[in-house]
Symmetry: C2
Subunit: 330 residues, 2 copies
């Protein structure tokens, strides 16, 4: 990653900073010369772990606190220049099994954050990582930001409400907030031990363990994939682009791939077979079919383009997980 | 009100049933022969009062409980045929001053309700009264259900999330849910003692007291007004129209009126003057400008049409408040 300037000396807070994308962001920020506070509740199963920030552990402040606790939050937001809000529950399936937890972690926590910024640090710039899940089943492809939102799981609803809080506080109180709608992000440090973070983590774990890969449905569903370093680059650019404030922006990739193509790449890297199986009921009802997003507006506004294609990114990912096996999939 | 059949012998739950629209609905349901349970937390300032159901007090069950309490809710939903979910915080201004309460009362309570129905009574039919506030400032008029949603206050965001919960549980779990987006409802039993329920209540109270009316801005903003009996008729029809399930529907009126016209009617009824004043800051930021909705889809689906125009409805409203002065504006 390169070309990101302007964070030297900046004071930044990364919520969910021990998670997959949050830790990768925190590490990059430290390399850019920022003073980084990482806030994480380490909620079991949400995927964060201290090991994720091992490369910069002695250069960041780690605040173990739950954002549902407004007091802890207000301590963290005071005096920072940027708040990158990545904390949250991301499992679609879990959001259906425990909708109350999803509501608390995604809505209540986000409300606490924007309120805390309004009260204690209204000049901070906020960036929220949302999800393409807010669109539901696409009516047309590629999906632009103007596509209607009809979430098909509890997580999508709560993430959408959290987006709206950011936009509202930007418009109403002058907090500068950007919302990015991420698509399928993959790469090192993702939580792949359990099945909670979607098919990418499941397939990668099985491939690493030499197990056959199973794809739900025909396997012909297409997705756009972003390597985590590209997502971090997008986050860093968006937060420094005034044109981005008060808006939602899609990320995406120049090429989309079917799940079969994804599995074929993994299969080659790890020498495993793959096959398709019928959708289990609880997956089928929250499946969105084909998806790929139009990120051209964001590219125009920020100059961001993904640099790492899927074959390259998956190779790096597998190499990294092999090197750090004990912490991710042993 | 007439022409509503099919509730004779039905067991129904009305949440927020001591409030303005809820109590009017409960009374009409009793008249239709339904067995009515009214659930209300009587949260101070939310506008409910026992006197609202005085005409049917001895023929309904009143359950004083808070929907944030999932246990109380599960007791109430068991065995009912219909759930009319009208409970909630409706003040736009209050939602900005206490966003956490609004979130709890509108999102958490609604989540409790749909979860409770899924677990204890999945064959119940649900109807949720949402608001045109979810659209934000209209981009085009009249506003159809396909208009983008960009709420401009916390209340609009939380009501929108609550809508989505209903639609999700309909699509995913087979609960049959209808969402109505109400516009400006007026009539007897509205909470007009405080300023919390919008300009209608404020103007009516002032007119009744013989005080001059003040309109914010130019007074030329237009709105569509529904008399409460028409809204109750819409609710009763919608819940019995299978075509309505799983969808959102606008209410509305065949004519729209400027606030100046509204004030002129009140002025004539109560012999008071009216004038315009600049918007206070906290009102201006959540003002939506002109609004009127397209309710033709709902009219086609259900045959519903508003029967009472504004002059007629306002006259009835003022007469009713004069008769029940002690309970509403003394």
């Amino acid at each position: 990653m390169s070309g990101v300037g302007g964070y030297g000396g900046a004071r930044v807070l990364v919520t969910g900073g021990l998670g997959f994308i949050g830790s990768t962001l925190a590490i990059e920020l430290v390399r850019s010369g920022a003073q980084v506070i990482v806030l994480d509740a380490l909620i079991p199963q949400h995927g964060g772990q201290l090991y994720n920030v091992a490369p910069v552990r002695d250069r960041i402040t780690v605040e173990l606190a739950d954002m549902r606790d407004a007091q802890a939050l207000s301590r963290c937001v005071r005096g920072v220049d940027f708040v990158f809000h990545l904390a949250g529950q991301v499992s679609h399936g879990d959001s259906m099994r425990d909708p109350h937890l999803d509501l608390a972690v995604n809505c209540v926590s986000t409300m606490n954050l924007v309120e805390s910024c309004r009260q204690h640090n209204p000049s901070a710039r906020l960036l929220y990582t949302s999800t393409r899940q807010v669109y539901g089943k696409p009516r047309s492809l590629p999906v632009t930001e103007a596509h209607p939102t009809l979430p098909i799981d509890v997580n999508g609803i709560n993430k959408l409400a959290a987006e709206y809080y950011h936009l509202l506080y930007d418009r109403t109180y002058g907090l500068r907030s950007v919302v990015l709608r991420l698509t399928n992000t993959y790469g090192p440090r993702q939580h792949i031990q359990s099945d909670r973070q979607g098919f990418i983590g499941i397939l990668i774990r099985r491939a690493l363990r030499g197990e056959a890969l199973q794809l739900f449905g025909t396997g012909e569903q297409v997705r756009d994939f972003n390597y985590v370093d590209d997502v971090v680059a997008a986050i860093l650019r968006a937060a420094q682009t005034p044109e981005c404030y008060g808006q939602v922006w899609n990320l995406g990739a120049p090429r989309h791939h079917s799940l079969l193509e994804f599995a074929a790449l993994l299969s080659e890297l790890c020498n495993v077979s793959y096959t398709t199986v019928p959708f289990p009921d609880d997956r089928r009802i929250i499946d969105i079919g084909d998806y790929y997003g139009d990120y051209s507006a964001f590219a125009r506004a920020t100059g961001w383009h993904p640099r790492i294609d899927l074959p390259q990114g998956l190779a790096s990912t597998i190499a990294s997980y092999r090197e750090h096996k004990d912490h991710y999939w042993a």
